[in-house]
Every structure is written in C-alpha cells, then in structure tokens.
Symmetry: C2
Subunit: 384 residues, 2 copies
C-alpha cells in the first residue's frame, strides 16, 4: 500500500465518520451509529472509497483494544465485582437462550445438526466494543446497567470462545474433545482471574516505574504498552485481545495516575477508534438487503426469523439481573449487538465449510440488524 | 501480518525506545539518540526483533508527519519569516557546498560523472525530522537558531526534491529536462506559498467548523485530518508529506484552539513518533562498520572521506546566517543529519542503477554518522 493511498483512506474515514457521527448526535442518536453508517457508505457496497487493507484492519484492532482499555480505566473494579452474579446470570442466559432458539429454528428449517449448532452459536455472541461505545456515548458506562452489560459481555466473549472452538473441532473431527474445550475455557478464566487478582498486587510497580522516568510521553506510552501486552497475552490464549486490554484498564484504574492516563488516552483513541467502526460498517454487503431480487428472498426470510430469535434470546438475558432497581430491558438491549464478534463467527463458519453463502449472508444481516438496533433502543430504555 | 506479530513489534518498539531514550536522557543526551540506537539494536543487524513491515512503515510515516505538525503548531510564523533570508542563505549554501565538495571528491576517486553528481546530491539532504526532534528535546525549538535550522531544512527538502528528480531524469535519458525541473520546483514553492498565504485567510473557518461540532474528539480529529490532507497534497506534488503537515501546523498555530490542539496532539505523537525513529535506526546495517573485514575497507575509506566533506559542507552553511547574535556553529550542526532523506536518496540511486552496493553502503554510513553526531554536537554548541 502506497503512503498516498493510506493517507487518502484515513482522510476519508475521519471526514465521513465525523460528519455522520455529528449528524447522528443532532438527531439524538449515538455517534457510533453514524460511524457505522459512514462505514457502510464508504465501503465496497455503496461508494467503494475505502478498501479494508491489512494496515487499516490492524489499526482498527489497536483502536478497539484501546477503546476497551479506556472503558476499563473508567470502570471501578469494586462496583464491577458487586454486580458479578447478575453479570454471570445475564451472560449465561444470554448464551443458552439464543443458542437453543437458534438451534431449534435451524432444525425446523431443515438444516443439518452441525449447521444448526453453528447458527445457534453465532447468535450467542455479544459485541463488547459496540455495547461499551454506546454506553459511553449515552453517559451510562458507570451505571449498574452499564457494569452488568460490560461484565456479561466480557464473560460472553469467553463463553463464545469456548463455543466456537468446540464447534470448529466438531466440524473438523466429527466429535467433541471435551478435554480441549475444558483447556480453552480454563485458560481464559485463569487469564482474566490472574490478570486482575495478581495484577492488583503489582499496580504500584507501574506507578513507581513511571515516576522514575523523565522523558516526555512516559505515562501514555507505558499505559498503551501494558494494554498491548495484556492484549497480546490474551491473543496467545486465543481470547479476544480486547479482553486483555480491558483488564489492563481495570488495573490502571486503581493507580494514582488514573485521571492523567485517561486524559492522555482519549485523544489517542479519538484517532484510532473511528477506523474500527468504519471498517465494521464497510464489511456490510447492502446488496443482500435488496428485497426486489428474488434470489434474496430465502436469505431475507432466514435473516428475519433469526433476528427475531436473536433479539428474544438476549432480551431474556436481561431477566437474569438480580437487583430489582436495575432496568432489565436496558441490560437485555445492551447485550443485543453481535458486531465484530458475530462477523468473526460467520467468517469462521464459512471458511470451515460449515455454512454456505446463503446462511452466511443471513447471519451477516442478523449481525447488522442487531448492531444497528441496539443504540436506537438503548437510548429509549434508559429514558423510560 | 498477523495481529499477534504486529502487537509484539509495537511492544518491542515502545519498550526498547523508552529504555534507550531514558538512558540517553540520563547521560544528558537527546532521547531521540536513544530511540535511534534502540532501532539499531532491535533491527536486523543486531537482534532482529523488529521487521520493518509495510504497516509499521506507514505508521512511522504518519508519526513523522504528526511530529512536524506539532513543530509547526508550536512555531510562530512571524519569527519564522523574520529569519527568512538567513534560512534561505543557509539552505542555499548547505546545498551548494556539500554538492561541490562531494562531486569533486567522487571525481578524484575516479567515479563516473553521473555517479559523482549523485554522490554530491546525496550530501545536500537535511533531515528536518531529526533536526526538529533534537531541537525540541533541547528546548531550543523557538530560538532564532531553531527557526533558521527548521526554515532552512524545509527549503532544503524542496531543493533536494528538485535535485533528485533532475538526477533521476538525467540517469534515465542522459539529458536534463530543464522544463521538468522548473515545473517540479515551481509546484513545490507554489504549494508552500499558497498553503501558508491563502491558508491564513481561512484559518477562522477551521475554528468555526470545530466550534459547531458537538461530539467527542472533534479538535484532535479535525487537526489530524488537516495535517494528513496537506501532507497528501504535498505528496501529490512530489514534496515530502511532512512539509505539508508542517504547513498545517503553522496555520493552526494562529487559531484560538492552538493550545488545546497542542495538548491533545502530544499524546498521539508519543504513540506514533517512536515507531519512525526506531525504524530509521533499524535500517542501519552495522556489519558495514566492521573494520576487521578487509572487504569493508574501501567502503569505510569512501565513507569517512564523504563524511568529512558532508560535515564541512553543512558547517559552512551556518555562515549564511545574517544576524550576528545567532550561533553559526549551532545552525551548521543543526543542518548535519541526513536521516531519512539521505536514506531515500541512497535507495533511489541504488534502485536506478546509478550507484552500486559499495557506494550505497558508504552513503548509508555517512547518513548514520551525520545523524548520530548532530544531537551530540548540537548540545555542546548551545551550551557554549
């Protein structure tokens, strides 16, 4: 990729994301909705201005990691652990219900058992990135609802990882290796637990290290490096890197430097994060939505019934909340967006030959619809 | 490139650049020297930890553009134009003297005419990025010396562009197209003039636009976008993109938002800029410096005589300064580093078949020596 093309892509992303984000804010919506729509516009299915090159994708990945780092940095581990049981219940219901409903629907539509399992599994995903960003846009990140949604979304990521690796193993060998499944799940839970529980003992070392440095940028570079490092470790354990970055944020939230890091990481994120959301939007293939093409009808039918099931399953998850003061609807709606996690699931299914182009298109539509509907509804849920 | 490898490269770059930068600061040197040395260490000629992939190179390019944007943002256009004649004289002497000396030396060493012209031209380069960073590290960016060095380095970039395109044309066709040379030079000067003179009339539009935005990150994204945009236009005119970004900084320095932009761009640069300097260091091939290998002797001999000539030529440039209050030595030393501009020149010469591996190695050594000696000497020059 030439520097010139790269500069032009970045300029296009920044200008379009900003314009659409501002427009979304004017009509009272979350700016992230505008950024996603900007992505649809500049993507290959409409204008074709931005090609998702390797470099842009890597920058987007860094962006979403730093976004979750910032979210962790603003979170309070105590109020987070306080809603731990609610979050666990929400995550569990939010995985079991969509899976069962999706599986049943797929079987009723005469899919094979392995396809039905895969379709069910895809519906279990929650995009922690989109949930976090919408909550942040609405200023609801630090509410009980916000803590439960984020906690459940992070747990969901781990459950999703276990589910995905189970299914891929099932598709490859025809049998399930429970040893492998247990190992994957155990490693992931061990990582999160160790990162937070052990990390808390050593956060003072981070502060001491930074205090001994003299040169410019010591705080932001040290913080970013820790976020990338825990993201790297997570990736090595096959957990989403953003879970590691989130853990890094939670740890640094407890240091004396918290507010200074927050102040410095925000402009960095303003530069990185739009790239991620625009690329997510650009991955949407609008032509699948055209109802005037008869060949789209089966896909649209499958997509709409899956979407209904996907939304019902996650709304049910909201009722896992224990505290009666908390809005169950808001929690359920916050768990709706499948976002990038759904896209990854669908891509894995296609590349492993579990599903074909039609089912892939339908799952993509479910991802798009749940992702776009959540910011709209969440705003209403918090208002009432 | 896998995300995991990319994360690991970034972590390595940040940790090594920070450690070496801190060490450099401890022994009273400019941190950029440490970052360059960190690059040599992690590069392929020592540890081989960081491979300069396309993505890293593009990020480094963005880093150096944003560095020059920040320098422009901190500069004062008036005190900049006040030393305009001195800067022009320094730039002219700093191009003519190294060229004549380098050409003469090459002819004396029995090179062909075209090779001698190319060797002379390579010695004319000045790395505005390294000069600016060293001045910033020393806190001398806003002195008269700093303004003259920066102004001359920017003009040098334009003169260098003209020289390079002339030589490449000469090598390709055997004749010089003065029309083409004039067109290149004219476009470059027109761009800088237009960007600054016309831009000044419209900076209030930037302020008005940002003031109308409501969503987070409006200031830093608008500023970065303008820097990338002017960099893109510069690139289109075959000028170094960092000259365009520098012009963007000069323009925004005159808006009401200057201090807020500065505050927000700094953490962004802390994340991007080390990538550039580490990659410059990583491009150094240390094996050429080994005096125990007899096959290195001709290269080392050529390199050392070229280095003497390169340093003499730029020190002479310091005497172009008109104001008697200004340290001529500091200005001359500030013009020494060939940095990335020298590397680009050498690469073009090699790829066009003008020079062979031996001359290429010697020019690389000149680039390395002038780049590493300048921060060391500049500190002394400002002390006296």
């Amino acid at each position: 990729m030439e520097l010139k093309d790269f500069l032009w892509s970045l300029i296009t992303i920044y200008v379009c994301a900003r314009v659409m984000g501002e427009l979304a804010a004017r009509i009272g919506q979350s700016p992230v909705l505008g950024e996603l729509l900007a992505g649809v516009l500049v993507g290959s299915s409409v204008l074709g201005w931005v090609e998702p090159t390797e470099t842009l994708k890597l920058l987007g990945e860094i962006g979403v990691m730093l976004l979750l780092f910032e979210v962790g940095l603003e979170a309070d581990l105590h109020s987070f652990l306080k809603v731990g049981w609610s979050a666990a219940a929400v995550a569990t219901i939010g995985v079991v219900t969509p899976f069962v409903l999706g599986y049943g629907l797929a079987i009723a539509l005469h899919m094979t058992a392995i396809q039905a399992i895969f379709v069910g599994a895809t519906l279990t995903a929650t995009s922690v990135a989109i949930s976090a960003r919408v909550l942040s846009d609405l200023g609801k990140l630090k509410t009980a609802e916000g803590n439960i949604i984020l906690g459940a979304a992070v747990l969901d990521d781990i459950l999703g990882l276990v589910t995905l690796s189970t299914i891929v193993g099932l598709a490859a060998s025809g049998t399930v290796s429970w040893l492998e499944v247990g190992r994957t799940a155990g490693l992931a839970i061990l990582f999160l637990g160790a990162a937070i529980l052990v990390g808390i003992q050593y956060t003072h070392l981070f502060a001491a290290l930074v205090n001994r440095m003299h040169t410019r940028g010591r705080l932001v570079v040290a913080a970013v490096t820790l976020a990338l490092l825990l993201g790297y470790v997570a990736d090595t354990l096959h957990i989403a890197p953003l879970v590691g970055a989130f853990a890094a944020g939670l740890l640094l939230a407890r240091t004396e430097h918290q507010s200074h890091i927050e102040e410095r990481i925000k402009p960095v994120n303003d530069v990185f994060v739009p790239i991620f959301f625009v690329l997510i939007g650009a991955a949407v293939d609008l032509s699948l939505l055209n109802p005037f093409k008869p060949q789209n009808w089966p896909v649209l039918l499958l997509a709409s019934s899956l979407t209904v099931v996907a939304i019902m399953g996650k709304l049910a998850a909201g009722f896992g909340v224990i505290d009666k003061q908390v809005s169950r609807w808001a929690v359920g709606i916050g768990m709706l967006p499948r976002g990038e996690v759904g896209l990854i699931f669908a891509g894995v299914g296609l590349s492993h030959g579990i599903i074909a182009g039609g089912e892939y298109g339908a799952i993509l539509l479910v991802v798009v619809l749940t992702t776009f509907v959540s910011p709209l509804l969440l705003k209403l849920a918090f208002k009432s």
